[in-house]
Each structure stands twice: as structure tokens, then as C-alpha cells.
Symmetry: none
Subunit: 218 residues, 4 copies
């Protein structure tokens, strides 16, 4: 609920409402600019002045909406996570146990790859040994969220596994996905599609034995 500001009580004060309308636009504008800059230069090398410039506003304006550079990255991450949940949430929803593994993984990967290729910042933010201190929190938060979802998915498929095993497997899956995403983002067209397929294969083959070899073509 990062948008509860919008659903807040609307008193007679006219300023708040208008402020929020304009403010939301500005915030979106700034976050888009930040996304572009982060993608280009990475978080550490991105300067708030550059973000403001990219957004077409003055540095002062930027700081009217974000207390500091970190907050921009955090909000950006939050919104991405939110959008991901809204739009692709069901990609990680518990699957019908009857669904063949191949199909389940295939569709999940397709959805996430679509999202991530449309929002390359996501990768940039979730992928930095350059990202300092506090941001790691957002990173970790997202990581935890994603891992949690994968874990619950896996849990239903690997009833015999210990919690630690499930967690580990989830981390490995996420790691494979991130590695794959990097490769996918580095290629285009047919080659990109081929990489997507490879990632699916990696995951399918990795998970098949763990989930009882419930392969679709069995």
C-alpha cells in the first residue's frame, strides 16, 4: 500500500488534494527519470542532479518529493514490486497441481521476462554490489518477497523436502532467473528468445527431479 497517501481523508483543505495530483505526476516523472539514469549509470554513479535534469526539473524540486537519493531508489523499487504484483502476481500464484512443470515454469518465466525487459531498472536495482547500505533493504525486501513466493510454490510441489531445502531451492531458482535475465537483456530478437528458452530448460531440468519428475511429457 504505497499509495495510501491518495486514499487518505480528503478534508476541506484544497491544497492537499491539488498538491497530491500535481505531486503524483511529478513523482512519477522523477521516478521515470531516475529509472533511466539508474539503468545508464548504475545507482552509485547516478547523481541527483542528473536525475532532476533528466526529469526536466530543478534539483530543489526533486528534494521536495524525496528526502535523498536513496529514497528515490527505494520508492522506485517499491513501485516496481507493486506493479509486478498487480500485473504479474498470479505468475507465482500456486499452480494447479495438474499443470505440467514445463508449462508452469514456461509461463512464469515468460511473464517475468516480459516485465523485466519492459522495466530494465528492476534488474539494475536488484543487482548491485554497488548498491550501498540502506537500499539493500528494499533489495532484501523484494528478494524476500520473491523468494517467499517461490518457496510456497515449491513447497506445494516438494512436500517431502525440509524447509531449508525449499528455501535453498528457491534461492537457486531466483539466482538462475537473474543470471538468465542478464543474458536475455544482453541479446535481442531470436537470440534473446533462445536464451529465454535456455533458462526455462535450466529450471525445468533442475526442478524436475525435485518435484517428482512430474514432466508434462511423462
Amino acid at each position: 500500500m504505497p499509495d495510501n497517501a491518495q486514499t487518505q481523508a480528503q478534508t476541506q483543505k484544497e491544497q492537499p488534494r491539488r498538491r497530491q495530483a500535481r505531486g503524483e505526476r511529478r513523482i512519477a516523472q522523477l521516478l521515470e527519470a531516475a529509472a533511466r539514469v539508474f539503468c545508464t549509470t548504475g545507482y552509485t554513479a547516478a547523481s541527483t542532479n542528473a536525475i532532476a535534469r533528466e526529469a526536466g526539473v530543478s534539483p530543489g524540486t526533486l528534494y521536495q518529493f524525496f528526502p535523498n537519493k536513496e529514497a528515490i531508489a527505494i520508492e522506485l523499487g517499491d513501485r516496481l514490486v507493486h506493479e509486478m504484483r498487480e500485473t504479474y502476481g498470479e505468475a507465482l500464484a500456486p499452480v494447479d497441481p495438474a499443470t505440467p512443470l514445463e508449462e508452469a515454469i514456461g509461463s512464469a518465466i515468460d511473464r517475468f521476462m516480459t516485465f523485466n525487459t519492459e522495466h530494465p531498472v528492476f534488474f539494475a536495482l536488484m543487482h548491485g554490489p554497488d548498491i550501498p547500505g540502506r537500499i539493500a533493504e528494499t533489495h532484501d525486501q523484494l528478494h524476500t518477497t520473491l523468494t517467499g513466493r517461490i518457496e510456497s510454490l515449491l513447497a506445494s510441489l516438494m512436500p517431502a523436502a525440509t524447509a531449508a531445502d525449499v528455501t535453498r531451492t528457491a534461492h537457486v531458482c531466483l539466482g538462475i532467473y537473474k543470471a538468465g535475465l542478464e543474458l536475455v537483456l544482453a541479446h535481442e530478437g531470436a537470440e534473446r528468445a533462445a536464451y529465454v528458452q535456455e533458462i526455462k530448460d535450466v529450471l525445468i531440468r533442475y526442478l524436475a527431479p525435485l518435484v517428482g519428475d512430474r514432466l508434462g511429457h511423462g
Copy 2:
């Protein structure tokens, strides 16, 4: 005898500049310090002053041996690559075709994980969307070298595959390895060992069908 320095310079590696032993020690010291700092903060956020401080010398001393920050990272990378080749080179040497895939992958991963665990900078340097310009060259060089080695390994195992397929597979393997390394570095003791095993499994299962399912236990 102003040139006796030159006559004694023939010892080590024919460095363009004749250095004193002290200098070599300082360089090693600086590179170690840099490794620590890069690991902690990432390349972009690492400051040369911080490296000098970590090495216990003044900024000027650092610049007596390295023309700039980039050169430090490059030299560090070069030395790591060199050491890797010296010590673990055969890890990617063509394997006896009779070797079971499981064993081949297992030993290669073990060797590389050992190296990377002992030299965590390696990962930090080879892993940055934040790493600018020239360093990318070293990065790319290493990447190309590694990929090449993996490719030639795979080529002998996948005689039917196209060159493009082999290349793609090699990239995927390297990607999996890097993702796995990140997980391995994030854990310790038994859990770390478990992750190492997972990575081996991922690779084995990924490659087995490609190389004719030449599994040891077949």
C-alpha cells in the same frame, strides 16, 4: 654506476620500470587493500583515498604505482586471472571423454569455487553493471577467455551442436556459475557446501541432455 639499476632489472618479469623490492611489496599491499575496499563498497564507490588509507599509505604513494583508479582494478583483475590460470588452469582443460559428466563438472566447480571463495574480489570485479569504461575491457577479456574455454570443452561434448548453440550454452553455464557463486559467498559452512552441490546439480542436469546423457551412473 647510475645504470646498475637497469642491469639488475632483468630479474623478475621485465617490468618497463625498474622497481625496488619495496615497491613491489607496496603494489601487493595496495592491491590487497583495493581488493578489500572493492569488496566492501564496489568499484564505483571505492575511493582511491580509501584504498590508500586501507593500505596504510598516503594518496601520493598509491599514484606512484597506479595512474588512476581504473588501473588498480585492471591490475588486480589481471593478477587474479593470472593466478587463476596458474593454479586452476587445468580445471577447464579438455577432459578425458571417458570422465563422467558429473565428475567433470564437480571438480571444475570445486576448483573455481575454491578460488573465488578465497578471492572474493574477483566476483566483485567481474560483476558490475556499475563498472565503467576501460575496466569492462578486462571484464570482457576475462569473460571471453572463460567462455572460450567452456566452449571448447562443450564443443567436444556436443559434436552435433552449432557454434551458436555452443556459445549460448557456454554463456548460460557461466551465468549459472556466477549466480551460484553469489549464493555461495552469501553463506557459510554446511549451507555453503549445500549451495555448491546445488550448482553442480543445476549444471549437470542442464548439460546432461545436451551432451548425450553421458551420466556416470548411466
Copy 3:
């Protein structure tokens, strides 16, 4: 109304960036400070921090208006040239052929000496074998402009001379002027006036034979 800044920007000279009045004042202030520092220490030895300090602002402020030290010198030079043209331009305008040489030279020297005495940086900037790279361009530009003006003046007075001769004579005149300026700036009061007169004499006697000895007292 985020663009009202743009609509008001049409006033002065269509600067690429809309500046506030405060900014323009700062720029003037900085240029004045730079002029003082350049005069005192010369361009090379002048530090941007010293200029900022002299202007009573922080280093960052200086760099808000000038990308580097060179730009300060260039802008300073440009403004001086501009002012010189505005105020003293006609000093080198083609003279009435009836004007005695003595009078023509006398008035030109008087005007230029006045300007240069009031703006001693001009000499400092236009006079350095120590001035590096890009500044030389402004220097050369001005030099070319001045020489050109002198040439066209001389051309009308020395109709029989070759272009090369005219150019050479113009360079010599400018050289004499600059040498004289140095002497003038090094003295004050009556002595300064005496030097001004000497320079006039040097030029008159040098040019008289070349221009047909059209001396006023002939």
C-alpha cells in the same frame, strides 16, 4: 507555471540557460575576482579555489557557472574584447587620409592605453607563453582581429606594399604596443605618461617612412 522562467529569459542575450539576476551578478563577481587573481599570479598559477575565495563564494558556486578554469579565462577574454569593441572600436576604424599620422597614432594609442590600463587582465591574458590549449584560441582570435584591423589601416596608408609586408608591419606594431603596454603598466603618473609618449614616438617614427612620411608637421 513551471515555464515562466523560460518566457522571461528572452530579455538579455538569449543565453542557453535561463539565469536569475543573482546568477548574472555572481558571474560578474567571479570574473572580476578572476581578473584580479590572473593579474596577480598569472593564469597557470591561478587556482579556481583562489578565484572563488577572492569572489567570496564557495568552489561549488564557481563551477555552477563555469565548467572549468579555462572557461573563466575565455569568458573574461570574450567580455573584454566585446567591451573593447563597443567602447573603443572606432580607435582602429579607417582614418581620414588627411589625418596626420602623428594624430592618428596618438589617438589610437591613447584609447587603447586607457582601456588596457583600466583592464590590466587583458594584458595578462593576452600575454602568456604559459597559457595552455584552448585559451590560446581566444588569444589567437583576438590577435587575429587586432592584426586584421591594423592591417586594413596600414593597407590604406601603404598602397605600394605587398600583403606580406603589411602583415609583418602590423605584427610589429602590435608587438611594440604590447611591449609598451607592459612598460606603461609598470609605471605611474608622469612616468607612465612619458612612456605612453615614447610608444607613440616609436610607432610614428617606425611607420612614417613606410606611409610616405606624411607627418603632420611636414
Copy 4:
């Protein structure tokens, strides 16, 4: 007498003598290097390390012979002055009053131009608004010496003039010479020769009326 170190008492101590032999070579070597560097970059921008490198010695060695950068310039200046005196001293020796002005000036300029084109540092050192503080002393010293010589020359030619007039005239002559030198150094071949002639003309025409119009062709 900057070389009195050489003429000093030679005791039984063998070191001093040998040191001085080697030392003199080193000093000459360093001064030549300094001359080249000063010519290229100007005094301020010249670094002692660059001078040492140019001389093919280490910074430490440089400082074994010169206490600081300034001292190098000073010694260089002294030696140049000395050499100038040795070789071209008579160029400014009192002339036979019978010598036509044209001839006297012509030969003096020829000699000095020869010296200065063979030793371009001289100009570089004697010509810097970039030359800071203490060096100005050498500068001034030389300036005074030269001016003094010119003054005594002029004094014999302008018996009616006041001391102040003579001094002023000497300064003007020296200024003209320096300005001319700059032009001469900026050209080559025939054009250079033409500029030399121009300078002679300037001086002759300037001085002729002052010295009683004792022109050779009168």
C-alpha cells in the same frame, strides 16, 4: 662568478674534487633538461619531476643539486647571463662614437638574436607574468644588468639627456627587442630574417632623432 665553486681550494680530500666533476656534469645535464621543459611548458607548469625525467635522473638526484625549483630557474638564468656576457658581451660594449647608429644597432641585434634563438629558454624565463615571486629577482637582476648596459651605451650617445630619459629610452629599447624576439622566434627562414630587419629599423628610427640623427648615410 657563479662558478667559483670550481675555483675553490682543492684540499687533500678527494671527494670534493670528484664530486664537483661529476656534479658539474649533472648540473649541466639538469639545467639543459630544465631549459627544454621550461621552453615547452613555461616555468609554473614545469614540474621538477618532469625535469628530472627529462634529464634521465631521479627526483632525489635533482634535489641533491638544487634546493628547489626556483633555484633551477635562477641558476639557469645566471648561466645564460654569464654565457651571454662571455660570448656577446662586447655587443653592448661602448661603441666607437664614429660607428654609424645603423651599424651599431644592426650588429647588436644580430648578436643578441643569435644568442636568443640558440637559447630560447632565455626568452621563456625573461618573459613570464607566470613567473612567481622570487624568480622575478633573477629576472629583475638580468633586466637591470641589460638595461644598465643599454643605458651606458645610450648615455654616450645622448649626452644632453637626463638620467631618467636615458633610463626610459633603455627600457623602451629592451621592450622593443623582447617584442621583436617573440616575433622572430615565431617565424622561420626568410620571414624570420625580415622580422629581424624590422626590429632593427624600429630601433634605428626610434633612436636616430635622440642621438643626434647620426645616421650612417647622413
